[in-house]
């Protein structure tokens, strides 16, 4: 099926989804000053990349708390004290996470105890921080056999390989920071931390050779085989002989790269971030790759049919309106520098939108110095239109990582952006015309309690909206907790989960504008915020 035909199918499908009034468009109000967090991503050359955030519930109240990496300065954990639907408010807590050298962070329940742990990427030794509850954390490198190494770590992805009782974590590393005069070509090994033989704790990490200075990684089931592969987006500034990568992850053998013979095409970009979502409605993810002066939206080409799917992608960023290659406002004509990217439905119309964080690396005159972030709203025809100025989020700070989460549990997704050499900025989503929504929290018994690798499906208005449950991607930023789906004006929807082992759960009807715990083998359970 051609791309245009696929778009037509999508259009036809989406036409059944009742749309809310979209006269106003998305609106955000900045609450940085009052919200509380003041962590900036500090540091010089070794912190020109990174700058991640993490959102997850460490306090157990259902509200997403916030971690901000500080670079050369101490990082900060902030407890979410917002009231439902109210202004965003956070309080710094003494958590054990006040360490320096942090470039990014990803939450993950490593040990399956029901508490989110946090993996800290660092310039130096990476840290596995075990969640103790009540937003307190404790170093667990030794207890879990996690070798933090000594590198410039800049990317992470995690998965549970088939049958494993412990996660597999891929860490992406950047250049050899000790190479001062000639660092080019000195990309250090990425690492794959697989479970130890006994099933608990990590084995010594495997080098993911060749490594090409990764700035984003994502375990993703690109071909819906049930076996996620590892996508790695690499920075061509520093590799020699490198390219973008896709790794086979056979559970019983070492990773191996997809090859040209299998359909993988060489692509060499300043890879900085990965966002994934099924935009075409065919059940397969598209991948947005951020870079400099150009960004890519990859869709399978040829489109998947009845036979095996080849890892061959076409760039459709331009026809989709997603190149975001230069500032969309202001007087700076120079090309953009893009970092974190994330697909979310910020106006709850049932269409995924795209946020892209922008910011100059460090006074690079070939690139825009006033580089506004993007908020690209998906239209019913599948194209995207810039809306960040009207929405109030066109920041020209040196943006890096970000998280988009519903911090005040009003069903509208809020935004936190980490900035280099300036405090993070926080916006509350106040879109008055937002549609209906659903928020889900997935649970299954056993070690992979949060069902990483599952597919969440919501059926309404004659279409199916899908979310792949992943840990990784973006730019040094991760999140755990509620999974958001906008459903337009639909009063109800059906939901099911395709669990990580491939088992499809039953469809269950749920009412719009509610929170639901989705446990394996059980009907959805409604949940109410405590405040």
């Amino acid at each position: 099926m051609t791309l245009s035909a696929r778009l037509a199918v999508l259009l036809a499908a989406l036409s059944g989804l009742a749309a809310p009034s979209a006269a106003e468009g998305p609106r955000f109000v900045e609450e940085t000053a009052a919200a509380g967090p003041d962590t900036a991503f500090e540091g010089d050359w070794e912190y020109m990349v990174g700058g991640g955030a993490a959102s997850f519930d460490c306090s157990g109240d259902g509200f997403a708390d916030l971690f901000l990496s500080g670079g050369a300065a101490p990082s900060g954990l902030y407890r979410n004290v917002s009231a439902r639907g109210g202004p965003l408010r956070f309080q710094r807590v003494a958590s054990g996470l006040e360490v320096t050298g942090v470039t990014g962070a990803y939450p993950l329940d490593v040990d399956g105890d029901g508490l989110q742990d946090l993996i800290l990427l660092r310039v130096g030794e990476n840290l596995a921080m075990r969640g103790l509850g009540d937003c307190r954390f404790q170093r667990a490198n030794e207890a879990w056999g996690f070798d933090g190494g000594d590198a410039w770590s800049t990317a992470l992805a995690a998965t549970w390989e088939r049958g494993a009782g412990w996660p597999t974590i891929a860490i992406g590393n950047y250049v050899d920071r000790r190479e001062e005069a000639f660092p080019w070509g000195s990309c250090t090994d990425n690492w794959l931390h697989r479970p130890a033989a006994g099933g608990t704790g990590f084995a010594p990490p495997l080098p993911l050779t060749p490594s090409h200075c990764a700035l984003s990684m994502l375990f993703t089931d690109w071909n819906r085989s049930g076996q996620p592969a590892l996508r790695v987006s690499n920075d061509r500034e520093y590799y020699k002989g490198g390219q973008e990568q896709l790794w086979h992850m056979p559970p019983d053998g070492p990773p191996r790269l997809y090859t040209a013979e299998e359909g993988w095409k060489p692509l060499r970009i300043w890879g900085m971030g990965i966002a994934s979502a099924d935009l075409t409605g065919d059940g397969y993810p598209e991948y947005y790759l951020t870079s400099m002066a150009d960004n890519k939206l990859q869709t399978l080409s040829p489109p998947p049919g009845d036979g095996p799917v080849a890892p061959s992608y076409a760039d459709v960023a331009w026809p989709k309106g997603l190149t975001a290659h230069r500032p969309h406002t202001g007087g700076d004509y120079r090309p953009s520098t893009a970092w974190h990217a994330q697909f979310e439905d910020v106006d709850n119309d049932g269409l995924l939108d795209l946020y892209v964080a922008k910011g100059n690396v460090d006074r690079m005159p070939d690139f825009a110095l006033e580089d506004p972030d993007n908020l690209l709203m998906q239209q019913p025809d599948g194209t995207f239109v810039e809306a960040s100025v009207a929405a109030g989020v066109a920041s020209t700070a040196l943006s890096r990582g970000a998280v988009i989460a519903d911090f005040n549990l009003d069903g509208r997704l809020d935004l936190v952006v980490v900035n280099r050499r300036a405090p993070a900025r926080i916006w509350r989503n106040v879109t008055s015309t937002a549609g209906n929504w659903l928020l889900f929290d997935l649970h299954q018994p056993g070690p992979n309690a949060d069902a990483i690798g599952a597919w969440l499906e919501v059926r309404c208005g004659g279409t199916v909206l899908r979310r792949e449950i992943t840990v990784g991607g973006g730019h040094a930023s991760g999140q755990a907790g509620w999974r958001h789906v906008g459903i337009g004006a639909e009063p109800t929807a059906e939901v099911r989960v395709i669990w990580p082992d491939g088992t499809a759960g039953d469809w269950h009807e749920v009412a719009a504008n509610g929170f639901y715990r989705l446990a394996r083998g059980a009907a959805p359970v409604a949940w109410q915020p405590p405040r």
């Binding site: 050359w45 020109m48 250049v175 001062e180 005069a181 000639f182 660092p183 080019w184 070509g185 061509r236 500034e237 520093y238 020699k240 002989g241 060499r268 400099m292 002066a293 150009d294 760039d315 960023a317 331009w318 190149t323 290659h325 230069r326 004509y333 120079r334 090309p335 690396v361 460090d362 006074r363 690079m364 005159p365 070939d366 690139f367």
Partner: protein, 438 residues
């Protein structure tokens, strides 16, 4: 003598600590080591500074080579200045004949200043590398020198660089906007004209359309080595133009492993390699290291080669925008096979003549004059990128392979290659006509 030995030791130490890949035999004397290290760095900066498309890179190599040449020539009894020979270069700042200068310090100061100017747009890593190389080499060449000699030599080297930089400002190529892609390009109409071939939004206008009007170095102007027009555009089977396109198409469908390797080897993509002119600079650098060349030889080779390359890009661009011809991918998809994909990424500017061919021809002409007509060599420019070295019996054999690589890669027709090489030969002859030795 003792002082020189200590300085050599210091340079060797700096070399081995800072640039571990540098062969030990490169540390023959301070000035050649300064040349070798700076050229190693600028080959990286070309690759990692987006402004430096191939034409811009060639300009930087020309001015850097001239800066080095004049820094050395000012203290040499054997070299003669290029002032008054290359267009617009006035006499360089003189030295105090009664005072002592250190030649390595003069050269180091001149190159450090020139590199900072001609690679000013490089990013934070490039700036950090510039700092490191300047710091390490400056300390090495200064070891054991009297303070007054050191200060005088540094000042003179900087003055030479400042003179060259000031001269460069008026050549038409000093200010690059949007990496060389115009914001307001109005394409002409017609089936034969170049149209964008890339899905990259920035590249919807051709690269540097006015580059052909820049001030040249050794040749009189950008039109001094003109070309006959390309075969007349036609979509008629059997016409010369259709035949040229058919050749590109047929070759692409039956590429041998060797042809693929040749296309990849000479691809020299901006931001993924030192660019085509940097490829030839890398060849020259390796040869100079291998022959343990002295400073005078280094600067003569690098100045002439840089001048020839810069003039080649001006002459080539002058012709490209005179003829404004479409690329094979446009024609073949329109007329022969709408699904055709060339092996290489098609560059974002008109086809005729081939830039790599013109500048390779100019480079070969200059290097043949400097090293000999049958000078065999191994080209290891891309070994770090995983491409094995290639052996050539002569510089012209390498240039001809560089030219035909563009046909294998599906980005040029044969006429652009053959006539590009001819144009390069003409342009290189102007550089060879410069007098550098007394």
């Amino acid at each position: 003598m003792i002082r020189m030995s200590r300085r050599r030791m210091a340079l060797g130490l700096a070399c081995c600590l800072a640039v571990p890949a540098m062969p030990v035999w490169a540390v023959a004397s301070p000035a050649p080591e300064v040349m070798s290290t700076w050229y190693r760095l600028v080959l990286e900066l070309v690759r990692h500074t987006p402004t430096h498309s191939p034409p811009v890179a060639s300009r930087a190599f020309a001015y850097l080579g001239i800066t080095a040449f004049e820094a050395v020539a000012g203290g040499s009894a054997r070299l003669v200045s290029l002032a008054g020979q290359v267009n617009g270069l006035t006499p360089l700042p003189g030295r105090d004949p009664a005072a002592r200068y250190d030649e390595a310090v003069v050269l180091q100061a001149a190159l450090a200043a020139a590199a900072r100017d001609f690679f000013a747009n490089t990013g934070p890593t490039g700036q950090r590398a510039l700092d490191a190389v300047e710091r390490q080499l400056s300390a090495a060449v200064a070891a054991g020198l009297p303070a007054d000699v050191l200060a005088r030599s540094v000042a003179h080297g900087r003055a030479v660089a400042a003179h060259v930089v000031a001269w460069s400002e008026s050549d038409g190529g000093a200010r690059i906007v949007n990496m060389g892609f115009p914001l307001d390009h109005a394409p002409p109409d017609g089936p034969a004209v170049w149209v964008p071939t890339s899905a990259v939004r920035q590249q919807q206008a051709p690269l540097l359309p006015r580059w052909g009007a820049n001030r040249t170095f050794a040749m009189p102007d950008g039109g001094a080595c003109p070309l006959p027009p390309p075969p007349a555009y036609s979509e008629e089977p059997g016409s010369p133009f259709h035949a040229e396109a058919t050749e590109v198409y047929e070759v692409s469908r039956a590429l041998t492993a060797e042809q693929r390797a040749i296309a990849r080897f000479w691809s020299d993509d901006p931001m993924l390699s030192p660019t085509p002119p940097g490829h030839w600079i890398a060849i020259a650098r390796a040869l100079l290291l291998a022959e343990n060349a002295d400073a005078e030889r280094w600067v003569d080779v690098m100045a002439r080669l840089g001048i020839a390359q810069a003039d080649a890009f001006i002459g080539c661009w002058n012709a490209k925008f005179q003829y404004d011809l479409l690329r094979p991918v446009t024609y073949i998809r329109r007329v022969i096979d709408k699904g055709w994909e060339p092996l290489l990424i098609t560059p974002p500017f008109p086809e005729y003549p081939s830039g790599h061919s013109t500048q390779s021809g100019a480079s070969a002409e200059v290097l043949t004059a400097l090293f000999g007509a049958d000078f065999a060599f191994e080209d290891t420019t891309h070994v770090a990128d995983g491409l094995p070295g290639r052996h050539f019996p002569s510089f012209w054999a390498a240039a001809e392979e560089a030219g035909i690589s563009r046909l294998y890669g599906g980005i040029h027709f044969r006429a652009a290659i053959a006539r590009g090489l001819d144009q390069g030969r003409c342009i290189g002859a102007h550089a060879n006509a410069l007098r550098t030795w007394r």
